[in-house]
């Protein structure tokens, strides 16, 4: 067990393409750090640099306080779980798990003890004599985990380990990974593009975009105070509504002329171009006839059961630039063309600078 520290890590391919543009992350001992971002944001490259599978162009990677830049993957004492599991297809489950231990010259009975312990933890005891192709996706995933835990490494690295599983199994394995990581207390770095995985698993969440860490914080802090438009749009489902607006004395005027009065919230200078961020769940339906902050003209409805998503635009505008989604309770019946009176909690409105995309 150990801390993992990245200091201004960069990766440049072929002298031109910058995949990672200087990322610094400090992961405390035993914590789970999740790197999340769209494909091509550099999250996998960063993970592979920690693993030693990719050379580090500049900056340092420290594991347990030691700089490991010049060490091979085997000498870093880390274990990695791959997206396609990377199980050795010609070896039995037992041998798959024992392979890393045998290569390190561990005594036979110690290997046996560790493999059987890991297999028991993961519910694989009955499958040790099988080959990977005779296992289901979830079982293969467990073998990959088993191969990581038998080694008791300093850190676990997960590269989108759940993306090859179906939705139900993914949810189940997500909880298993979380519990296992907490029980073993091994420092972990987990890469995913799935924001649900990111939110549920992370102690520290790193939102990456175009080779940079846009925000590093706890999942709730990122949800509550996204540092930029990108983070705001990436974390949360359905995504946060982002409306172009101009600040005025009393509130904000949307591009289509709708005025949204926001009392109480600190307002930026009058006339400034901003983006208003309002999460769909923070638009509430007014049922007592009070004056609405916004009238939503519904153009599409998605009934999810527990929730109903009402898509539309402000009643007096037709502009596509101000499309909105409101997340309403499932009990509310909404139809296309309805006019919904909505109230906005001013403390839940995020204001971003239109030019820089940063939070104001």
């Amino acid at each position: 067990m150990a801390t993992v520290d990245l200091k201004d890590v960069r990766k440049v391919y072929g002298g031109r393409v910058e995949a990672v543009k200087g990322v610094s992350i400090s992961i405390p001992d035993g914590a789970m750090c999740v790197l999340v971002g769209p494909s091509g944001c550099g999250k996998s490259t960063l993970l592979r640099m920690i693993a030693g599978l990719e050379e580090i162009t500049s900056g340092t990677v420290e594991i347990g306080g030691e700089v490991v830049n010049d060490r091979g993957p085997a000498e870093r004492d880390i274990a990695m779980v791959f997206q396609n599991y990377a199980l050795y297809p010609h070896m039995k489950v037992y041998d798959n798990m024992a392979y890393g231990l045998r290569n390190r010259g561990m005594a036979k009975d110690e290997i046996d003890k560790r493999v059987r312990e890991a297999a028991a933890t993961l519910g694989l005891a009955d499958f040790l004599e099988r080959r990977p192709r005779e296992l289901s996706g979830g079982q293969r995933q467990r073998v990959a985990m088993g191969r990581a835990i038998v080694r008791s490494p300093k850190a676990f690295l997960f590269d989108e380990p759940l993306s090859n599983l179906d939705a139900k199994l993914r949810g189940q394995m997500r909880i298993e990974i979380k519990n296992l990581q907490k029980t073993l207390g091994v420092t972990s770095v987990y890469v995913t593009h799935d924001q649900v995985e990111a939110m549920t698993l992370a102690d520290t969440l790193v939102v990456m975009n175009q080779g940079l860490a846009e925000q590093i914080d706890t999942p709730m802090a990122i949800y509550e105070r996204p540092a930029s438009v990108f983070v705001a749009g990436f974390i949360g489902s359905p995504a946060m509504n982002l409306l172009a607006a101009k600040s005025s004395q009393s509130g904000h005027i949307l591009a289509d002329g709708t005025e949204i009065a926001i009392s109480g919230a600190t307002l930026p200078d009058s006339g400034r171009e901003v983006l208003l961020g309002i999460r769909p769940e923070h638009l509430t339906l007014i049922e007592n006839g009070a004056a609405p902050d916004l009238q939503l003209k519904v153009t599409a409805v998605e009934t999810l059961g527990a929730d109903t998503l009402a898509h539309g635009h402000p009643a007096n505008g037709e502009s596509r630039s101000s499309e909105l989604v409101a997340r309403l309770p499932g009990s509310v019946r909404v139809r296309d063309g309805d006019l919904l009176p909505l109230s906005i909690d001013p403390s839940m409105v995020h204001i971003f600078d239109a030019a820089s995309g940063r939070r104001i």
Binding site: A51, G52, L53, G72, P73, A74, I78, A79, M80, F82, Q83, N84, A86, Y88, P89, H90, Y99, G100, N103, R104, P132, R133, R147
Partner: protein, 294 residues
């Protein structure tokens, strides 16, 4: 399964099949049946009359010490050719797999020799190692090695093996490159993280995963060495010196078309045919079982 398409025309399918069938008939079934027919006949020295002798030709051929010697020659030649061609091709493929810049260029260069006709390949090696004018023969003798494949049997054998293997390396290389590409890169990375060095990774991960390819090539190469190396042997040694490089195929040619002993030659080619069928059947039974990994 997709539903079968039914064509109303009853004759058209046969017409479309006819050219292929005609070629197979003329170039395989007819000669093969002729060989079968001839193998039970014996012709007099002047070709005036033939008599039916049953299995006497087979009995005679199989009891000839020269035939048994030829079987031995063939086994040595085939095993050595297949082994060398496979090992070198695998080595080259593994090396080529590591190259990042100019990968396609190197691969193309490696594949070229396959386009060379067997007789030409044989001639190339013959010229290089010809005791009177060959560059390499000169170098060997200059180094004090008594090189003379025209008189020395083992040397002649090494020369035809080298030429035959050289020609087959390209083909094997192609399959090994494809086989190596089919191994997911993450497997190699996982093994690296698991603490396996390069050599260890090769023997514990890459080589076992290439096993289906290797086995397929073993069968193909053996068949190649058995049957398709006639041109090389004919160009390089002509079966000599003595009978040192006379493989089974070469003996069929020698006995039939040089010594005009058609009965014996036909019996030999029938035996060869049985060997082909056995090898092919073995390949199909075994390869199909081994090929599905992972």
């Amino acid at each position: 399964m997709s539903p079968r398409v039914v064509f109303p025309n009853k004759i058209l399918p046969y017409l479309l099949l006819a050219p292929q069938l005609a070629i197979t008939l003329v170039f395989f079934y007819w000669p093969a049946s002729q060989a079968l027919y001839q193998s039970v006949l014996r012709e007099d020295a002047f070709g005036l009359k033939t008599t039916f002798v049953g299995l006497a030709n087979f009995k005679k051929v199989l009891s000839q010490p020269s035939y048994i010697a030829s079987v031995q020659t063939t086994v040595i030649f085939s095993v050595a050719t297949a082994f060398i061609a496979i090992v070198l091709a695998l080595l080259l493929a593994v090396m080529a797999d590591k190259i990042i810049k100019g990968r396609g260029f190197y691969r193309t260069l490696m594949i070229w020799p396959y386009a060379v006709a067997p007789a030409i390949a044989g001639l190339l090696w013959l010229f290089m190692f010809n005791p009177t004018m060959g560059t390499f023969a000169y170098m060997l003798r200059a180094a004090g090695y008594p090189w003379d494949p025209l008189l020395n049997g083992p040397q002649a054998m090494s020369l035809v093996i080298a030429a035959a293997a050289w020609k087959q390396i390209s083909y094997n290389f192609l399959f090994f490159v494809a086989g190596l590409q089919a191994i997911p890169k993450t497997l190699i990375e996982a093994a690296a993280i698991d603490g396996a060095g390069e050599t260890k990774r090769f023997w514990t991960i890459i080589f076992p995963l290439l096993a289906p390819t290797t086995f397929f090539l073993l069968v193909i190469n053996t068949t190649y060495a058995f049957f398709d190396t006639f041109g090389i042997i004919h160009a390089v040694t002509g079966g000599g010196p003595g009978k040192w490089t006379e493989t089974l195929v070469y003996k069929v040619y020698n006995d039939g078309f040089v010594n005009l002993n058609f009965g014996d030659s036909a019996a030999q080619s029938v035996i060869l045919m049985v060997i082909v069928i056995a090898l092919t059947a073995f390949q199909f039974r075994y390869v199909e079982k081994k090929v599905h990994y992972g």
